[in-house]
């Protein structure tokens, strides 16, 4: 397989290998905290922060860590950044931190981050690993944001707390509940599959 350009390395995370819609990783946080835009934003930022810095460090130390203890050391690195993110959030935005419940600490076991550390950062140069982490976290961020937008709009008539839809629209409470999350995620994955299928068909024809 030919080496990807840096641009391709970044964009694969946004679309072709999007962690949510293609790899179906880290879904529990996407399902649980996407009931409002603000929660999605905070979660997306936290994951972005942890993913970029853990990829950076994992890639830096990739040659000195013995193979047998690599997973354990990845976890320690990831946990360090998760603790930083979690405590910062709790100190500056206590309400938000409470609303997100255990999902920020749970980033430690988020498959996207360990997956990127194991599959990419531990085998690639630092600059490439950071670009990969940027792309992957971008894909996660955009998907959880989209979920948050749709669910808050339909479930609460608002976006970021500002009323968008008028009184004529009776909010769909189900969108704020777990079933709404599953329905939305299913639809988003289905639609992105359809688009991908169309793109590939067009490429074949050319």
């Amino acid at each position: 397989m030919a080496e990807k350009t840096r641009k391709q390395e970044f964009f694969k995370g946004l679309w072709g290998e999007n962690p949510i819609t293609r790899q179906l990783l880290g879904l529990c946080s996407v399902l649980a905290v996407s009931n409002a835009v603000i929660n999605g934003l905070a979660m997306g930022l936290a994951v972005t922060f942890v993913l970029i810095f853990s990829s950076l460090i994992v890639s830096l130390i990739r040659k000195i860590v013995p193979n047998q203890v690599r997973i354990a050391s990845f976890i320690v690195i990831i946990a360090t950044f998760v603790t930083i993110a979690d405590r910062t959030l709790a100190a500056y935005f206590p309400h938000l931190s409470k609303a997100m419940g255990p999902y920020v600490p749970l980033i430690v076991v988020n498959c996207i981050i360990l997956g990127r550390a194991e599959a990419f950062a531990s085998k690639n140069k630092v600059s490439r690993s950071v670009i990969d982490a940027l792309g992957m976290s971008g894909g996660y961020f955009l998907t959880i944001l989209l979920m948050g937008l749709i669910r808050e709009l339909l479930g609460n008539r608002t976006i970021l707390g500002y009323p968008i839809l008028g009184k004529w629209f009776s909010p769909w409470v189900v969108m704020l509940l777990p079933p709404g999350a599953f329905i939305m995620l299913g639809l988003i994955i289905a639609i992105s599959n359809v688009i991908d299928f169309k793109i590939k068909e067009r490429q074949k024809r050319v």
Partner: protein, 335 residues
């Protein structure tokens, strides 16, 4: 050329037609079955007009129209022939959904429910015959989760001539207002004819049973499914009623109250989402009856027909797989 024709003529003389089974075909087609079900629901539609007037008719029309429009849109998006819209299956989904809605529901919500029923309940799986869950009940479950207040607000039928804005259903009355102790349990006569609060099409057991008997006589629905549901629910409620009649309602009350009749005869019997084999059918039906009993007697909701049918729908592929009849002469490998 000539030889060719000769060969053909020869083979026609000795022609043996070889084709795979089925060899005996029924004359029933999908549209025929669907329109028969729609006809069988007409008494229920008529009683819904009698009890709830134009409100009921408006909900039925809007829900049916929305179901058919959604079907057209989904078929267009999937690039399928639009002919199947007229097979009546979408119309039935819309009609059945409307019959299970409270009469005071805003029509826009009914339209959303019917649209979800067709799109998320049927077309995402690949259309008629591929869905796991009864589409009408998927629509209703979605509405129940989306608009919990509107879906549990009831008005009295116009025939009661009571001047109140809201009115409890017989099952709500039983669960939340201590009806047995107060002696206000709805009389069986009212339950049977339908002079009670409730969903627009479920109140009159009599009207539904007329349609159901017609369908059973035409063999469109399998009598074993309603029989299993009724037997298991009766057995379950009889036991508790005998133990403590001051706390639990009699079994006949449970049979005629709420959505049991419409659920047992029209929803659970959906050909697509019910098991194929006899053993599977009995298990499926008894499961539904038992879950209804558990929800009604011990659950947080007054009524459980919808959730119990949806729950047992999930088991149907499992029943079909494990309860296959043995082919003549087939030996199962010994374990």
């Amino acid at each position: 050329m000539k030889d060719d024709l000769k060969d053909k003529a020869k083979s026609r003389e000795l022609s043996l037609i070889i084709e795979s089974s089925p060899h005996i075909r029924d004359k029933d087609t999908t549209p025929k079955i669907m329109y028969r079900v729609i006809i069988s629901l007409m008494p229920a539609v008529a009683t819904s007009f009698y009890f709830f007037r134009w409100r009921a008719i408006l909900l039925i029309l809007i829900s049916t129209a929305s179901a058919m429009i959604t079907e057209v849109l989904c078929l267009m998006a999937r690039r399928r022939t639009l002919k199947t819209v007229l097979d009546g299956s979408a119309a039935i989904t819309g009609l059945l959904l409307a019959l299970t809605l409270p009469p005071s529901l805003p029509p826009a919500m009914a339209a959303i429910g019917a649209s979800v029923a067709i799109s998320l309940g049927k077309q995402v799986y690949g259309g008629l015959g591929h869905n796991i869950f009864n589409p009408a009940l998927v629509g209703r479950a979605f509405l129940q989760a989306a608009f919990p207040v509107a879906m549990t607000t009831w008005i009295p039928p116009v025939t009661l001539k009571v001047d109140v804005a809201t009115y409890a259903t017989p099952l709500g009355n039983l669960k939340f207002q201590n009806a047995i102790a107060l002696g206000t349990l709805t009389p069986l006569k009212d339950l049977f004819w339908g002079n009670v609060g409730g969903c627009i099409g479920e109140t009159s057991a009599a009207a539904l049973l007329i349609g159901a008997i017609y369908l059973i006589l035409k063999k469109t629905i399998d009598w074993r499914i309603p029989a299993g549901i009724i037997l298991s629910l009766s057995a379950f409620t009889t036991v508790f009623w005998l133990i403590n009649p001051d706390r639990y309602a009699p079994p006949l009350f449970h049979l005629f109250a709420g959505g049991l009749i419409i659920g047992a005869f029209f929803m659970a019997t959906d050909m697509v989402t019910s098991p194929i084999t006899r053993a599977g059918i009995w298990l499926y039906a008894c499961g539904i009856g038992l879950i209804i009993g558990v929800i009604r007697l011990f659950g947080g909701l007054p009524e459980g027909v919808m959730y119990s049918i949806l729950l047992m729908n999930t088991f149907v592929p499992l029943f079909n797989h494990y309860l296959r009849p043995r082919i003549l002469g087939e030996r199962r490998p010994k374990k």
